[in-house]
Symmetry: C2
Subunit: 351 residues, 2 copies
């Protein structure tokens, strides 16, 4: 019955191999795991029986015995049900997965909306050796998820999010978004912009907040007006386009528009064009992230290249290290970002 239900018909176990090889199960186990001493003759015989019988060890049994899963869970919390639509997210997932695969770990992937939070017990079916989380939503919502993850009692890596409490078995891996915002704004100031907008989604991303903070720092240093925040609702093309167009109509064009990410910048660029403005002559525009997409538009976007793949890879690296060493060595790791000049801003960059 259970078999008919689609479970593996894994008929051959270590005992079968042992019987046919005329040894004990534990000798087979020793051959499999290289532990203990087994004569080469016996080992060779066992190996051939394994091949002949098509024996494959049960990882479920090994997991139970060793209480290790060789599995890392990744949770992505975003409003968009298509939770992988942002290339910044996918690059992190890819970086993590590639690292884990190379180190014989598996990745369990799960996406949720901030509002999907239920009371307790959400991830208990995952049973991983560690968790990696990429969260959006307001601080309260993110905290709920972080607490829930902490309840799992496994090491936790927070991507683009600060570690909330010292006593947690947790590390934070960020890129220097604040610096990125600073670079962008300094560049714009050096290009003569005095009045700027920042385009943000309503959903709170810690990364976006940091970018804005960097922008503000640069403008303050330069003695330029703080940027006006345009809330775009969600960060989709349509919403951003409409919000930008509405703002243009209401307030007239600023000197520069700082997109929360490349996609938003591109939507804003289209809105500017449709409003009759030339980029960069009438209004300069910048993005953030620097994936392939920034080149799809004309003029090519000035942006900041994110270390997304490296974020994911680093997450995997520190997590596996943590699993071996018993604790994280740091509370936070920050990866650098780099400024990328395009044609959507001027080039008389004084930096």
């Amino acid at each position: 019955m259970d078999k008919a239900k689609g479970s593996k018909q894994k008929d051959v176990t270590i005992k079968d191999v042992a019987r046919v090889s005329e040894v004990s199960a534990m000798t087979v186990s020793n051959v499999l795991n290289g532990s203990g001493r087994v004569s080469e003759a016996t080992a060779a015989r066992i190996r051939s029986v394994i091949k002949q019988l098509g024996y494959r060890p049960s990882v479920a049994a090994r997991r139970l015995r060793l209480s290790r899963q060789w599995t890392i869970g990744m949770l992505i919390v975003v409003e968009d049900p298509n939770f992988l639509s942002d290339p910044f997210t996918t690059a992190q997932v890819t970086g993590l997965t590639n690292y884990l695969t190379a180190n014989s770990y598996s990745l369990i992937l799960r996406g949720m909306k901030p509002s999907d939070f239920r009371t307790s017990g959400m991830f208990q079916d995952i049973e991983a050796d560690g968790m990696v989380a990429l969260l959006s939503g307001n601080e309260e919502q993110r905290d709920l998820f972080i607490n829930e993850l902490a309840n799992l009692n496994v090491p936790l890596v927070l991507l683009e999010e600060h570690k909330p409490r010292q006593d947690m078995d947790c590390i934070s891996i960020c890129q220097n978004d604040e610096e990125g915002g600073y670079l962008i704004a300094s560049h714009l100031v050096s290009c003569g912009a005095k009045q700027m907008w920042t385009l943000l989604p309503s959903a709170e991303w810690p990364a976006m907040k940091a970018r804005v903070a960097g922008v503000q720092r640069a403008l303050k240093e330069a003695g330029v007006l703080a940027p006006e925040v345009i809330d775009c609702g969600d960060e989709s093309y349509d919403f951003t386009y409409r919000a930008t167009l509405a703002a243009l109509k209401q307030k007239g064009a600023p000197h520069a528009i700082i997109g929360g990410n490349d996609q938003m910048a591109i939507a804003a660029m289209k809105a500017c064009k449709d409003y009759g403005l030339c980029v960069p002559e009438d209004v300069q525009i910048t993005g953030f992230n620097g994936f392939d997409i920034w080149r799809y538009v004309d003029p090519v976007l000035t942006t900041v290249c994110s270390a997304a793949h490296a974020l994911g890879e680093t997450a995997g690296k520190v997590l596996i290290k943590r699993l071996h060493e018993g604790r994280f060595r740091q509370d936070e790791i920050t990866l650098p970002v780099t400024f990328q000049q395009g044609s959507s801003t001027f080039k008389n960059n004084l930096l």
Copy 2:
């Protein structure tokens, strides 16, 4: 020692709950699984002990006992190490993951290059109840992976790939790419195009091949010249841009360029502009897939909307059904695609 290595300190087991509740372990199990009859008083007591002790059942133990994993594996084989960079891929992953999560299954994700194929035993660490695969590479390479997956002895779903052999416990889930190609080409013919190029990556995607076949069918029916295939090397922006520009210089502009997907069409559009051509006046351009990206460009791309999310969701649906029913009911499912008029082609569509 093992604990220090980062395994869960799951100290409390079903036995602990049983002891504290003053019942046997199996009564606790009955409460947990709703099976068997337990008096409401006992059940309530046990539930409160569970909460108080923070007991969480071991899924590893349950898996071993039941020899079911509640896990589906997804394999993505692409040349690009950033194996989630194509939105067509991510939408399928998302569709699958969302469906699985809603049905209490987990998704294990793994990406590989076609050339990463090793001899046998590649996925044995995955131990899932079923596998879903999205493959690229030439037919021979894809066959290697399919065979390897078949060796796992679990039901297999092939996305955008035909089932190679009748006797496999396997189903193929495709969208009607051929029809999509047909719609695109018919549209272009109705818009006056007589000489066309198709832009393809060197890597073989079954989906792309089907699109070309549809294009050819339409042109043949219309008595128009078969399209010229421009091999772009890989499907990245840079490669496609350069290949298109080189072809323009060598052969002059065709009436229309049919991109293998939206990204390639956008790169080609940029190449045409840089070559001094107007779109669509001098050359019409079409994409394929219709994710948000097709709107990022100016003019907006004429394309075909793919059912990517539905492909992934359907994969999950038929797989879980198969797990319950013991066999797949069909060999293949084909989802429809829809034509999407943009401004990168004319609109005097006679269809």
